[in-house]
Symmetry: C2
Subunit: 360 residues, 2 copies
């Protein structure tokens, strides 16, 4: 599928000092499939996470939260093929037993998919590497997103919860395949402290900003890859909303467009269907929005303004943009200086096929 051509190049992955990765087959759903990833961490590593807001939070997520609160994390175990969600107390017991078994098992060959970056902080070279499991990336699994980003930077443990939230907000929290929120969504940030930099201890300092930028770049790459690999995806769609009063209203409008089944089937059909995009903007829930003062662009083409189709717009222009595998929808609200970007994919026959045939 052309949409996947620009996915991250696995060859560019850099090792992070203090982190070892292993993959194995546990025969969870299909025999012989590599369904387990183990991330081993050096002593002293800092770990923080953000997790699904779903009230049916899966057992492994509940346990992971407990362990992160206790600190001193030495390994992360990730499986596919079984969500262990909606499994009550028995599910929790099983997740706990699995963790106990891992404690005796460390060490195997590294291989995975991901994104890497390096950045200089206070004279030290900091490495950032991230891996992710997402919609269709390994297997369609409720569009579950699991993201793990590791760096060898030294950072005060007190800053980790804030940092992981800020990075998630511009990356994993900006991607949608079908609007469903899984019981297992998790994003974990690891800092092993082995790069030799002076510990980053100030939220307002240059070191924090530089590290956050590198982490965000890696996390955005992973998040975009999830949309590119969305179930049945044939197109990668970026929805950018600019000139809003605050980021929240920009995100609300971007998500209304990115989640609309009508907009997404139109993209699948390469149909520059203005009406569906305008309708999604209109029902996004920004109740005082003046639709007469906003502009909508498909790629570089101005398609709507003054409450309707732009006078200069021809359907041939829109059709040319829609033929691409990588499409940007831009909405300029002209009522402030905030903006937000959301990534998604189109909605195809294969989305229905994959999700109708998939049995939990």
């Amino acid at each position: 599928m052309p949409v996947n051509l620009s996915a991250p190049d696995p060859a560019s992955l850099l090792p992070v000092a203090g982190v070892r990765l292993g993959i194995a087959s546990a025969g969870i759903k299909k025999p012989g499939r590599r369904d387990i990833t183990l991330i081993e961490l050096a002593p002293g590593s800092r770990v923080a996470g953000v997790f699904t807001q779903n009230r049916f939070c899966a057992a492994p997520v509940a346990l992971c939260k407990q362990h992160l609160a206790q600190g001193d994390i030495r390994a992360l175990l990730i499986n596919t093929g079984n969500a262990n969600a909606g499994t009550g107390e028995e599910g929790l017991r099983r997740a706990r037993r699995t963790c106990e078994a891992v404690a005796q098992l460390m060490g195997c060959a590294a291989e995975t998919k991901g994104v890497s970056r390096q950045v200089q902080i206070g004279g030290s070279t900091i490495t950032v590497t991230g891996i992710a499991k997402g919609s269709g990336m390994i297997h369609p699994n409720m569009a579950t997103m699991l993201g793990y980003v590791a760096t060898d930077a030294a950072i005060a443990p007190g800053l980790m919860p804030q940092l992981v939230k800020e990075v998630a907000d511009v990356s994993f929290n900006c991607v949608t395949v079908d609007g469903d929120t899984s019981t297992n969504d998790s994003f974990i940030l690891i800092a092993t402290g082995q790069a030799g930099n002076a510990e980053i201890a100030d939220l307002a300092g240059a070191g924090y900003a530089a590290l956050k930028a590198a982490l965000s770049e890696v996390a955005i790459g992973l998040a975009q890859a999830m949309a590119r690999d969305g179930e049945g995806a044939t197109k990668f769609i970026t929805v950018a909303v600019e000139g809003g009063r605050d980021r929240a209203e920009c995100k609300q409008i971007a998500y209304a467009i990115a989640r609309s089944p009508l907009v997404k089937t139109a993209f699948f059909a390469s149909d520059p269907n203005l009406g569906r995009i305008l309708a999604a903007i209109g029902y996004a829930g920004v109740t005082d929005l003046d639709v007469n003062t906003l502009q909508v662009y498909l790629g570089d083409v101005l398609v709507a303004e003054q409450g309707g189709r732009a006078a200069s717009y021809t359907e041939a222009q829109g059709a040319a943009v829609m033929k691409e595998a990588d499409i940007v929808v831009r909405v300029v609200l002209n009522r402030g200086h905030a903006n937000a970007t959301v990534w998604t994919c189109d909605f195809s026959y294969d989305y229905v096929k994959i999700n109708a045939e998939y049995r939990t």
Copy 2:
């Protein structure tokens, strides 16, 4: 499609004194198609409406609101094949010219689809008849819902705005096909006052309650027919949420289930996929929901309790329910006395086909 078998029987439609219906071909999108409905009202008829909350409110909707505010409505003109949305000032001018033309044109043969009921109020027989245009009912058109319910009851004009809202809240506001809100959604209530009953003037009286019940029954029938006839629908799904603290949280959970593409593709596949239903309950946004104290039923079968799969549940039971064309999902929250019901349909290959091939 079996889902449509229980749609309302057109033969049961009763005329309402003071209302005449006409249908004509205007060649709006396809030559020869009957794309215009005219509803002519006797002098003195009361009319009230509720309309789309979409900020891109279509020109005919904006004009209809103006005319209802002025009062003395003598005719309603409804078209398909052109939404006249996102058309700015020119769209408004055209809608206005169309209304002027109708003023000279009244009178033609009645025929349409709908639902009728009769009720006794203060010794008079009151007739209620409703017609609707919805998703796929006439043509797939952004799942636009247009509902018109007429009665010959006499009712004080001051009560009409409240009555139309109350009826919409239990009918048209409880149906979803794909979660998109059209620029044109409208529900219009007409009372011609020709039944001979003493004018209903008290919101707390028995007459108001009886009329509201009859109107609601008709409007619910029309709303359900919209879900049954949803684009590509093969199953009609009722989502009933009970035992909530208030109606709002029940509706929130019911809509989360009814809108989930993952739940809807599972219904299409006749797959009793518990995980997807539980996940939708969990992400509905009721942040203090305790998932360990709720029950979920498919038809009469208890499928989930205590945070997971019910001990008594077998997949064969779930599979038997899912084979039906008419399925009830029931969620019992056990935290209050409120409830809400939402109707929807499944999500099939044909949903994608219809919406990918449809061009505005």
